[in-house]
């Protein structure tokens, strides 16, 4: 069984966001780049499916500039069998462009499962998975919190407001992983050594025309300095009075 895991390289969640010189995008100076945290759950689940089957191949796929290869090597060190880097330099493409470039690469692979994180923690659009599924004509379940495979059928649960939907899916299919799906493993030293010998193929990305344009990026106005009402239990009556009479929230 072939599984493809789509991985995005994103700014570390510790990043203090500053607007770049263009006034539209993140200032990349001093930013540490990591694998999108939700993609770690996607990769882990693909590895578990392969291990349970005792055979198969996990392909890590990522799009972006040369730096993306660091994240792909990390995916190989964690356990992916090979990696494909869709090379695209310049500004970040919109979600449909990404989905189109990924679909062009994935469609001919005849993968049984395509995995993605439920969203990237930079643009938070949560779109590429379902868009990709549409483009390759596959069913898709987003925000997967539980996954079980039985032959050609997957029984999955997806988070919805106040509960979970249970979905039965016939493969091939696309899934986007939520946190809580599993506990991702780290790259071992042995894995890191092995990754150096695993194939990482670079190809040009074909994203097509843009569909959106970013007009500006703004930082939220800083919140006004708060008020320490007091210390310990003695401060409770005053806090309750403030919440009721001043803030009018209780």
């Amino acid at each position: 069984m072939l599984q493809v895991v789509c991985i995005k390289q994103v700014a570390d969640t510790e990043t203090r966001v500053k607007t770049g010189a263009d006034g539209k995008t993140l200032d990349p100076n001093g930013v540490t780049w990591i694998m999108n945290p939700y993609d770690e759950f996607a990769l882990e689940q693909a590895l578990r499916v392969k291990e349970a089957a005792g055979a198969g191949e996990v392909v890590a796929l990522s799009m972006g500039g040369a730096g993306v290869q660091t994240t792909l090597r990390n995916a190989l060190a964690i356990g992916a069998d090979r990696a494909i880097h869709l090379r695209l330099d310049g500004p970040q493409p919109d979600s449909l462009q990404v989905a189109r470039a990924l679909a062009a690469e994935i469609a001919p692979l005849n993968a049984s499962i395509v995995w993605l994180g439920k969203q990237a923690v930079d643009d938070d659009q949560a779109q590429v998975g379902p868009m990709l599924a549409e483009l390759i004509g596959a069913p898709c379940v987003t925000v997967v919190a539980k996954f079980e495979l039985a032959g050609e059928k997957a029984m999955v649960e997806r988070e919805i407001e106040g509960g979970r939907e249970v979905v039965e899916v016939t493969l091939p299919a696309v899934f986007t992983a939520d946190k809580g799906l599993n506990e991702p493993r780290y790259a071992s030293l042995k894995g890191i050594m092995a990754a150096k010998k695993k194939p990482l193929e670079e190809k040009p990305a074909v994203p097509g025309d843009p569909n959106l344009e970013i007009l500006s990026m703004q930082l939220p106005p800083p919140r006004a300095a708060g008020r320490i009402v007091g210390s310990g239990v003695e401060a409770v009556p005053e806090l309750v009075r403030i919440l009721r009479e001043e803030a009018k929230v209780i």
Binding site: L96, Q125, A126, E165, A173, L215, M217, V229, V249
Partner: protein
């Protein structure tokens, strides 16, 4: 040129996010396009004429027995058919679990861009501009659309629903083609959350606990205060990673971004990822032993103190207030 709005129902009941999206469409209509047309995928009419009160001129019903449950492929077929027929200037969705699942499929089918989880929309020179948080709220971006229709999903609780008018909408049947039997993904059931717990993204009041609570067994303090305030329970990432609370409770960059009326952070020091997810709350209260904790920099009001003493006292005070009005 119309504005098309996805009308969300669950179990045959219209959801309040629908009123929010329709009201926003009605506000945009004079500058962007009219009429405001709703499209609803359902097993039977959930009372669509009532949506006239929230600005819908017409609502289309795409009926299929399979739509008693969320059916992503079927809903996509219904919305795409309405879009191809009406050629709207814009299509709006609630950024709910269903809306965030559905809107990208429709966008891919129509070959247009989509702005997800927007917090503000504007018509500028007859074109839609969408503002949305990025980096879990550490920044916002404003997006323009290069293709038509413009598509956006609207974050729940951010867009105010209008005061309902006496108007009713015309309900018509939507032509579309979909074979549910051929679908390869089928919702077979629902698991209830913890006693039908209100989702964090829809809650007016959130009481969140962090590592300062020292163990999962102390979350009853958080639950009691949340119950007294009529709110729901959230958690910091540290607490979720330690397995004290389910991931659905996590507020922050790898959890939920929330904007309740009142956010109470208890025993949470305030890592940058957590602050990103909750700093758009209207009123933030922090209770923490460490007066230097970063949470106090974003909190409107704080008490420096031991959660094990302060929280029960606060819960008791709120209960007393509720009892006496």
């Amino acid at each position: 040129m119309s504005i098309l709005v996805f009308v969300e129902q669950r179990d045959g009941k219209l959801r309040s996010v629908t009123h929010e999206a329709l009201s926003e469409a009605a506000r945009l209509a004079p500058a962007l396009g009219s009429p405001v047309v709703g499209i609803c995928a359902a097993a039977a009419d959930p009372g669509l004429a009532s949506l006239g009160a929230y600005g819908a001129n017409e609502v289309r019903l795409a009926a299929n027995a399979a739509f008693a449950r969320h059916d992503a492929a079927g809903y996509t077929a219904a919305v795409v058919a309405a879009a191809q027929e009406l050629k709207p200037a814009a299509i709006l969705f609630p950024a709910s679990a269903i809306g965030r699942d559905l809107a990208p499929r429709v966008a891919a089918r129509l070959g247009v861009g989509l702005a997800a989880d927007c917090t503000a929309l504007a018509a500028v020179g007859g074109k839609l501009h969408a503002t949305r948080p990025v980096y879990a709220g550490k920044a916002t971006q404003t997006i323009g659309f290069l293709k038509s229709p413009a598509m956006a999903s609207l974050r729940p609780k951010v867009f105010a629903a209008m005061s309902p008018t006496g108007a009713t909408a015309t309900v018509v049947s939507q032509n579309f083609s979909y074979d549910a039997a051929a679908s390869r993904a089928r919702v077979t059931g629902l698991t209830a959350g913890e006693g039908g717990k209100l989702d964090l993204t829809e809650a007016e009041v959130i009481v969140s606990g962090g590592r300062g609570l020292k163990g999962p067994e102390h979350f009853n303090l958080i639950e009691d205060l949340a119950a007294a305030l009529g709110g729901t329970v959230g958690a910091s990432r540290a607490v979720v990673d330690a397995g004290w609370r389910p991931h659905g409770d996590q507020v922050g960059q790898t959890g939920k971004t929330v904007s309740p009326k009142l956010y109470v952070a208890i025993g949470i020091s305030g890592a940058i990822q957590h602050l990103a997810g909750m700093s758009s709350s209207r009123c933030i209260v922090a209770i923490n032993k460490d007066g230097e904790a970063p949470i106090f920099k974003v909190a409107d009001f704080g008490i420096v103190g031991d959660a094990f003493e302060v929280v029960p006292a606060l819960t008791a005070a709120v209960k007393k207030l509720n009892a006496h009005g």
